[in-house]
């Protein structure tokens, strides 16, 4: 029994030493990485909106000069409109083994359908959004660190000052003019579709155009929609990449 007690005492002592040493060595390891100043770098993020997805790409490199492997290196973004949650997304996970350098792109992909299905006003109204950005990494597969900062960003609506106007018609076509200003900090690339419904809400015609509108660019386009029946009023719906941007009543002049 004495041997068991001695063995337990030894195991407990060893474990306590390991537990107390680990945070100290982890701190030294991190100090070794970050004190150099050029072991970690983040490039200029680029934004893109295409085919219904909003993507942010951040060039990133890390030279792990510490003693321990770094794992689960990722960035995480949460977006709120006031207290209302809008979207969240995280980059792919990176592992940076000790003594190695890893260069990669931290890519965040957000489905516009997810965001705008419940927050359609973001497409057409400028807003002040709260963005919470986090950087997460785990050292020695034991201690995980997350640094989070919150800031407000001006959301420039990609479809600002949107107007849909009925221009003219003949026996086979209804003509609408669509214009908007891309107030967002990213270009818009993808299909813009105008759908025409009669007063009993049956689709009578639709037309799709591929658009490419640069940031701070103006879009003006004509939609000459072939219609299956002639109608003087109804509903018009504008979609971008299958996301409903606006639905409004229309009447021929």
């Amino acid at each position: 029994m004495r041997h068991i007690i001695k063995a337990l005492r030894l195991i407990i002592a060893v474990l306590w030493i390991a537990i107390l040493m680990l945070p100290v060595t982890v701190a030294l390891s991190l100090l070794k990485i970050f004190e150099a100043g050029n072991n970690v770098g983040i490039g200029k993020p680029s934004f893109d909106l295409s085919n219904g997805n909003f993507s942010i790409s951040i060039p990133f490199y890390m030279n792990n000069t510490g003693f321990y492997d770094l794992s689960e290196v990722y960035a995480y973004i949460k977006v709120y409109d006031g207290d209302k949650f809008i979207a969240e997304s995280s980059t792919n996970w990176l592992d940076v083994p000790a003594g190695e350098m890893v260069a990669s792109n931290l890519s965040i992909l957000i489905s516009l359908e997810d965001i705008f299905s419940e927050n359609r006003e973001l497409l057409t109204s400028n807003k002040e959004l709260n963005v919470s950005a986090s950087l997460h990494f785990r050292v020695a597969y034991a201690l995980a660190f997350t640094v989070t900062t919150s800031s407000t960003v001006q959301w420039g609506a990609p479809f600002s000052n949107l107007t849909i106007q009925h221009s003219s018609y003949n026996e086979t076509h209804q003509v609408f003019s669509v214009s908007f200003f891309n107030n967002a900090s990213f270009p818009i690339n993808g299909p813009l579709r105008l759908e025409l419904l009669n007063p009993s809400n049956t689709t009578v015609g639709l037309m799709e155009q591929q658009i490419g509108v640069p940031s701070k660019g103006l879009y003006q386009g004509l939609f000459e929609i072939p219609v299956s029946e002639l109608t003087n009023s109804g509903t018009v719906r504008l979609y971008f990449a299958d996301i409903l941007i606006r639905e409004e009543r229309w009447e021929s002049l």
Partner: protein, 145 residues
Amino acid sequence: MNEAETKSNRRKFLVKIVKAALVTAIYGVVWFLIWLLLSSFLGDLFLQFSALYWILVCASLFFTFAIRISENTIYKYVFIILRSFFLIVYIAYSTNFGVLSMDYAGFTFTVEFIPLLAIMVAINLLSIARGLIQAIEFSAQSPED
């Protein structure tokens, strides 16, 4: 038991109390010095956790005194086991089950150390096991206790 034996026992007990109080006081001074060091180095950051620190100090001093005063009795091992139980609960609660957060200069820093917490709990479980074995051994050696 005659009067001389009773007097001797009382004296032994008194000496035990004095020794326990002395050791506890030394521990108290050490804890106080640690508090001074931490509060001067970490400042406001440490003050957030000062209530938790003093709970640990009070519990530690209580168990130190209790274990010392119950030396050579089975209660010593009972207190050792109780101390380990307390440490498990304290460590889990005070570390928010292994996830600590603090705000500094507009940033929120979060440290997650659940694997370390699990090892700390395991250490205390081993301490409990050791206390139990010691108690059994003690009982076997001195059944009159």
